[in-house]
């Protein structure tokens, strides 16, 4: 068994460009990780490598019962980078688990409705591994049920923009029948204090894109866990876009359960002053010949902007012929920001096609700015071009044109410092 952990914390300062790079392949020989040189000069940086973590990623305690978890102290592995004091009731308080207003746009063979919490599908994609997730589970009354059938492409958007400021619990099932093809967008805006679980069931040979867009109001708090189970020869593209909200934590856990299953896990985030945006990603290669790609990119701007990306990839003992790669890149635009980036790769079989990870956090490159300005482009426009270009590498992979346009516009608005 190979087991590698590399953590990087980078704190923005006004020093010249520098980049932290952690990369390599876990198939045997692997370059030694950086030791702290070549990091952003003068910045607070930390690298840890431990040969054998205490526990394999899929051996964590899990339960749907909130009381089964001890109180959260903020020192737990899964919480230590999160401002738990700002989450309040979401972790262990009372939550309103009733229905909430939604706006649905859908076509083709899709239905959106509410199902009882006793529905047999509930809990089949995954079980909570932290107290906030279990708290949501313990409190929801009915699950929002998005069902996709047929073989023609289906597009469904569920907009949630009237949640209000009452602490809420929610549960969603996205149930994609075998051979179905769909794009499902969870479009979140307005106020929210929300803890939720989303289960994504991808039937054999189905192909689905699930996008969750966090474009919340400034003081929103949102803790989400997505659990996906991808069947034989099926394909899931999962996209987390976090732009607005005070504390937003969306943690996807994807199991490639059937032979030949594919998971592409994408994320884009833009944190500005005072914002905390987090994603702890878990990709589990359970079956053989599965393929995984994880790519998250984020920009940070303004005092107190904090982002967290944790990428756990586990290649299980039966996952022979697996091909997996994960990466996270952050672009630091101003002083006073902090980007945590922690890739972990565990391999429990000797026979894989390939696996690797990379993590890099760099300051805005002044040479790029100079080059663009030397062509007459103003500093403001030049900055926008560079940041947009940086995030475009992921945005272009989403494959939903209307959404891409909207994201580009939203990113421009972030850069212009417009209130959202």
């Amino acid at each position: 068994m190979t087991n590698e952990t590399t953590a990087t914390t980078t704190t923005g300062r006004s020093t010249p460009a520098g980049e932290t790079n952690v990369g390599g392949s876990a198939t045997g020989t692997r370059p030694a990780g950086p030791t702290g040189r070549g990091l952003i000069a003068d910045a607070t940086s930390r690298h840890e490598r431990s040969a054998v973590p205490v526990q394999t990623r899929n051996e964590r305690f899990s339960s749907t019962d909130v009381t089964a978890f001890p109180p959260v102290t903020g020192r737990e592995a899964g919480w230590k980078l999160t401002p738990v004091d700002r989450l309040g009731a979401l972790i262990d308080g009372e939550l309103d688990g009733g229905r909430y207003p939604i706006t649905v746009q859908g076509d083709g063979a899709s239905t959106v409705g509410w199902s009882d919490r006793t529905d047999a599908r509930i809990g089949t994609a995954g079980i909570p591994e932290d107290r906030a997730s279990a708290n949501a589970w313990s409190h929801f009354a009915e699950a929002l049920d998005i069902r996709i059938a047929g073989e023609e492409p289906v597009h469904v958007t569920v907009r949630r923009d009237r949640l209000g400021s009452t602490p809420r619990a929610a549960h969603t099932i996205i149930d994609v029948a075998p051979f179905a093809r769909a794009v499902v967008v969870l479009d979140n805006a307005g106020e929210a204090v929300l803890a939720e679980n989303v289960e994504i069931l991808v039937g054999d040979s189905a192909e689905v894109t699930v996008v969750t867009l966090q474009d919340w109001a400034d003081d929103a708090r949102h803790v989400a866990n997505h659990f996906a189970r991808v069947g034989r020869d099926a394909r899931l593209k999962h996209v987390v876009v976090s732009l607005g909200g005070l504390v937003v934590r969306v943690n996807p856990a994807v199991t490639l359960a059937g032979s030949g299953a594919e998971g592409e896990l994408l994320g884009v985030y833009f944190a500005d002053a005072g914002q905390h945006l987090e994603s702890q990603v878990f990709l589990f290669h359970q079956a053989d010949h599965t393929k995984g790609r994880v790519e998250y990119r984020g920009a940070l701007q303004g005092a107190g902007a904090h982002t967290v990306w944790v990428g756990d990839v586990l290649i299980g003992p039966d996952a022979t012929g697996t091909d997996s790669y994960e990466q996270n890149r952050n672009l630091v635009l101003t002083d006073g920001t902090r980007a945590d980036s922690v890739p972990n790769l565990e391999i429990e079989t000797g026979d894989i096609a390939g696996a690797g990870h990379a993590s890099a956090t760099g300051r805005f490159d002044d040479e790029q700015l100079f080059y663009l300005q030397a062509r007459g482009i103003t500093e403001e426009v030049a900055r926008r071009l560079v940041v947009r270009g940086f995030l475009a590498a992921v945005v272009q992979k989403i494959g939903v044109p209307e959404l891409e346009t909207r994201l580009h516009d939203a990113i421009e608005a972030e850069l212009a410092g417009e209130p959202r």
Binding site: D366, Q368, F370, Q373, A374, R375, E379, V381, R388, G389
Partner: protein, 254 residues
């Protein structure tokens, strides 16, 4: 007539070892339509001169002046200088991930002209300039300088020169790293720009070979941060034969 004047320019840069003096009193005067070759050994300060004209923030002007038709260039920001008609073809062009050549060119053209170019004419201009520089049309959709070979980067610089139509261009070792075919193509591009717009050129080079394709009106030998000798094209021939040895070790005025 347009004139770019550089007068008694002293420039330093901050290094880990402290302030380093690089340019030590540079005087140059370029009229529109003229080509001035600046030749000098490695480390003599040629790129520093180029970057200082363009306004790179790393280079600190201690004294002296740069004037474009009497206007104080040193008081302008980098982008203002470009809009005033100065262009720098860089020795090492920078990669801009995620920004396509076509988007970049259009944005730059819009900035320089103060308005977006008329679509039809613009697309045609870009296509023709690219064809003249033997650039594959697919280039337009690649990210700026990302994964470009050395020769492709230099062509891309000259493409910008042709499309942005500056009054004065500083070409910093545009010839370095080019094979003879690419050198001819790039030189033709510069000559076209000269013929079309009356461009004034400050041609910085280490070697004499580009001067076979772009004929200089004046040659300046640059050593240790200043012009050590000036003359006509014949000076380049002498450098070709003798190299820079005779200048090295010559006392440097402070």
């Amino acid at each position: 007539m347009s004139t770019l004047t550089i007068a008694d320019l002293h420039v330093s840069v901050e290094t880990d070892q402290g302030t380093k003096q690089i340019l030590r009193g540079v005087d140059l005067r370029i009229n529109e339509g003229e080509t001035h070759a600046v030749m000098g050994p490695n480390g003599s300060g040629k790129s520093t001169l180029a970057y200082t004209i363009a306004g790179h923030p790393k280079y600190h002007v201690e004294s002296g002046a740069i004037l474009l038709d009497g206007e104080d260039v040193l008081a302008m920001t980098v982008d203002q200088r470009a809009r005033a008609g100065l262009f720098l073809a860089m020795q090492y062009p920078v990669e801009i991930p995620g920004v396509t050549v076509s988007n970049f060119l259009r944005t730059a053209k819009t900035a320089i002209d103060g308005e977006a170019p008329a679509i039809r004419g613009w697309v045609k201009d870009v296509r023709e300039s690219m064809a003249a520089l033997r650039m594959d049309p697919g280039f337009a959709e690649r990210n700026v300088n990302e994964g470009f070979s050395g020769g492709e980067k230099k062509r891309n610089e000259i493409l910008q020169l042709e499309l942005l139509k500056p009054r004065f261009a500083v070409l910093d070792e545009t010839d370095s790293g080019l094979d003879v075919d690419a050198l001819k193509i790039v030189s033709e591009g510069v000559n076209r720009a000269k013929a079309n717009t009356g461009l004034g050129v400050l041609l910085i080079t280490h070697y004499t070979r580009i001067l076979r394709y772009i004929t200089p009106d004046f040659v300046h030998v640059f050593v240790a941060g200043r012009v050590a000798e000036e003359g006509g094209p014949e000076l380049a021939d002498r450098l070709e034969d003798e190299g820079y040895d005779r200048y090295v070790g010559e006392p440097v005025a402070s």
